[in-house]
């Protein structure tokens, strides 16, 4: 009998969950008829499970509890943003201070080392010449870079109309919706007849501003807002 009870105890959890295979279910049923203690335990445990399951909410929170939490979260996020802002400012100023001190220290160092090297170390003199050369190169490339306004298309003429020949994907013109073969009629209300006009208009406004394009696409008129971008080019 004890062995059977042991076996029953083993399958008891699955028996409660009703997950037993048929064969073992049959065994459990027969055992429960034979063994009184096991039957009592089973009934008690089922009673316990049922009473726990039927536990009703003893506590109900206010109806405006949600809005309380959400307003809390929103104010906290705002605070965090301000905190982030102040932290960001502090970090930025530290970096500026660090860079400027580093710059001045370097300035002093270089003048010091020059005197020292010239006296005692001829190899260092050669090195210094090399570094001077490199510096020259660097400053030369800097002067070759130019800032322009950019929307990202190429234009040409077609039957005396100004037509977009090529829109570069991912660039402002493309993102705004302009496509190849659109005939440009107006930009910011100005009628377009020559390609030079477009260049002038684009370079006359600040980067980040919006240009209103009116185009003719397959006989229909469309308007697109193109955001002008700043771009550096080498020449």
């Amino acid at each position: 009998m004890k062995d059977e009870c042991k076996k029953f105890a083993n399958i008891f959890p699955d028996f409660l969950d009703n997950e037993l295979p048929d064969k073992e279910k049959e065994f459990a049923k027969i055992h429960l008829q034979k063994c009184k203690p096991c039957k009592i335990i089973t009934e008690d445990v089922i009673f316990i499970i049922n009473s726990l399951k039927e536990t009703k909410y003893e506590i109900t929170l206010d109806e405006n509890f949600e809005s309380k939490i959400i307003s809390h979260i929103l104010t906290e996020e705002k605070d965090n943003f301000h905190k982030f802002n102040t932290y960001f400012n502090i970090a930025a100023s530290i970096i500026v201070i660090f860079l400027s001190t580093w710059f001045f220290i370097n300035l002093n160092n270089s003048s010091n080392s020059k005197n020292f090297d010239l006296k005692n170390n001829p190899i260092a003199v050669v090195n210094e010449q090399q570094s001077k050369l490199v510096n020259f190169g660097a400053s030369a490339t800097v002067s070759n870079i130019k800032k322009i306004n950019w929307v990202g298309f190429e234009v040409g003429y077609n039957n005396n109309n100004v037509v977009i020949k090529n829109v570069f994907p991912g660039n402002p013109a493309f993102l705004a919706g302009l496509r190849n073969n659109d005939i440009i009629l107006k930009i910011n209300g100005q009628n377009i007849k020559h390609i030079e006009q477009i260049d002038k208009i684009i370079n006359s406004i600040d980067a980040g501003k919006i240009l209103k394009f009116v185009v003719n696409r397959e006989g229909k008129l469309y308007q697109f807002d193109v955001k002008v971008q700043k771009r550096y080019i080498k020449y």
Binding site: C5, S51, I59, L61
Partner: protein, 207 residues
């Protein structure tokens, strides 16, 4: 700019709402709070009796849920996510107030053998069944005195109605251990009820 209300939040599943929340949809979060506030409050009530404190804890849990919304991934069970946060918070809180009774894990053997021993032991000492003589309130009262380790699993399973898989994730223990803990908890609860019954009878005899 006012967002148009295109989504009927009430019809969405918990998991879908949580995914929206993780994309910063505060209205989806509102619906989650609406659905779970009472459930969570009653879950916390099993550990703490002070009503005001419960409200604070529930609020903090939801705020933590919102803060960790980006950690929720598609396919995870929402209950697991919520109860893990709630239990972790409760644990730190009760540890601080030293109300959480710590039992070293080596003392509790979680294997099935221990459970079978207990099952066979309860054979001998009790002959009559308890059914019917107790109200549900008494069962809840007895639950308070059940061993903390078993109580956790028991509450999650029988009151909150979670699956074994979810509980095993929340408590970070294997599924088999969850099962044995739940069943040992039930047996212990039965023992406690029996004890209460005995005391009641003695009181009646004395009167």
């Amino acid at each position: 700019m006012k967002k148009q209300k295109l989504i009927n939040y009430q019809k969405l599943k918990d998991e879908e709402l949580m995914i929206l929340t993780s994309n910063d949809d505060i209205e989806a979060f509102n619906e989650i709070v609406k659905r779970y506030k009472n459930k969570l409050a009653n879950f916390v009530f099993r550990y703490i009796n002070d009503r005001e404190e419960i409200e604070d804890i529930v609020q903090e849990t939801f705020i933590r849920l919102y803060k960790s919304r980006k950690r929720y991934y598609v396919g995870a069970s929402f209950s697991t996510f919520l109860y893990t946060i709630a239990l972790n918070y409760l644990r730190t809180l009760l540890k601080k107030q030293s109300r959480w009774k710590f039992i070293s894990l080596s003392k509790i053997k979680d294997d099935g053998e221990e459970y079978i021993k207990e099952f066979l032991f309860s054979h001998n000492d009790l002959e009559e069944k308890i059914s019917g003589t107790f109200t549900k309130d008494a069962v809840l009262k007895a639950l308070e005195s059940v061993n903390e380790t078993f109580k956790q699993a028991l509450i999650l399973r029988d009151i909150e109605g979670l699956t074994y898989e979810e509980i095993s994730e929340i408590l970070n223990i294997p599924k088999g251990t969850v099962k044995s803990r739940i069943n040992r908890g039930r047996l212990q609860l039965r023992k406690k009820l029996k004890l209460m019954e005995k005391q009641l009878k003695e009181m009646e005899n004395n009167l």
